[in-house]
Symmetry: C2
Subunit: 138 residues, 2 copies
DNA sequence: GAATCAAATGCAACAATGTTGCATTTAAGA
DNA sequence: TCTTAAATGCAACATTGTTGCATTTGATTC
C-alpha cells in the first residue's frame, strides 16, 4: 500500500499519522476519481461523524486534500498534488464532472488560462466544467 | 418599483406572479450584488421556509435567477440577464467574491475565454474567482 | 364580478449536514 | 516508559434541505 507515502506526507505537514487520517487518504486514493462526501462517510463509517468533518478540515487547510467539486450539497474531495502547501493550494487544474457516470476528475490544462478583471485583485480562480467524459462518450 | 418588469418576466416564463415570487425578485434586486440565502431568509421571513426553497428552485429552473456562488454552505443568488431561458442559462460571465466586503458579483469578460478538454464533451463552464474588489482596493 | 382549476403555499414531519464543548484517548518525542 | 499536546468520541445543538398533503390563490373563462 501507499500507507508509507501518506505517513510521509502527513509528517511533512506536521500532522499526526493517525488511523483516521490514513484511512481517509487510503479511501480517497482507492476511489481513483474525486470522492463524494457520502461515499467517504460510508467507507469510513467506523469513525465518528464529527471526526470525519474535522479530519477533512485539517487535511484541507494543510494542503493534503482539496475540495474538487460541490453540487446539490454533495462535496467531492481529491488528494492534492505535490505543489500544495499549508500556505496555499496551488491548483492550475480544472474540475470536471461527467453527467453520465457522475465522476469528478481533476484535469490539467495545456496552457494555463489567464483570467483578468481590471481594477480587481485576483487571489483564487476555480473552474468547474460539466459534460460527458471520454469513457462515457464512446 | 420594478414590480411591473418582474410581472412581465414571470409571465414570459409561464409562472404565476405571486406575492412570494415578486417579493423574492424585489429582494434580490434591492440587494444590488448577488444575495446570500441567509439574507433572503431574513428579508422574506414572512414566507414559509419550504416555499422559499421551492420558489428559488422554480425561478432557477425557468431561467429567472441563477446560483452565483456557493461557499461554506452559503449560496448566493442573482437575477439572470435577458439571454437566459427555461431551456438553458446562458452565462458568459464569471462570478467574483470579495474577501473583504464579502460581496458576490457577476462580472462580464472582455473576451469569452474558451476551455477545451480533448475527448470530452463540454456542456457547462462555471468560473468562480475570489480576491479584492475595486471598492475595497482603494 | 363570480366560477373554475391547476399551480402555489403552509404546515408537519423528517433526513442530512454541519458546529461546539468537554472528557478521554492516542501518537510522537524525550 | 513517561509526558503532553493533538486528536478523538460523544452529546447536544443549529442549520439546511426534502416530502406529502390539505388549503389557498392567481389566471382564465364565462
Ligand atoms: Mn483537483
Ligand atoms: Mn451571475
Ligand atoms: Zn463519465
Ligand atoms: Zn469588496
Amino acid at each position: 500500500m501507499e500507507t508509507m507515502k501518506f505517513k510521509e506526507i502527513l509528517k511533512k505537514r506536521n500532522l499526526k499519522a493517525t488511523q483516521n487520517r490514513l484511512g481517509l487518504l487510503e479511501a480517497i486514493s482507492a476511489f481513483k476519481t474525486a470522492m463524494p462526501y457520502s461515499e467517504l462517510q460510508k467507507t469510513l463509517n467506523y469513525m465518528d461523524r464529527v471526526t470525519l468533518y474535522r479530519t477533512i478540515d485539517k487535511l484541507k487547510e494543510q494542503g493534503v486534500i482539496h475540495k474538487a467539486f460541490q453540487e446539490n450539497n454533495e462535496t467531492f474531495y481529491a488528494i492534492c498534488g505535490e505543489k500544495c502547501s499549508s500556505d496555499t493550494h496551488h491548483h492550475d487544474h480544472i474540475h470536471f464532472k461527467c453527467i453520465k457516470c457522475k465522476a469528478v476528475t481533476c484535469e490539467n490544462m495545456d496552457k494555463a488560462l489567464k483570467i483578468s478583471l481590471p481594477d480587481y485583485e485576483i487571489h483564487k480562480v476555480a473552474i468547474n466544467v460539466s459534460g460527458v467524459c471520454g469513457v462515457c462518450l464512446v
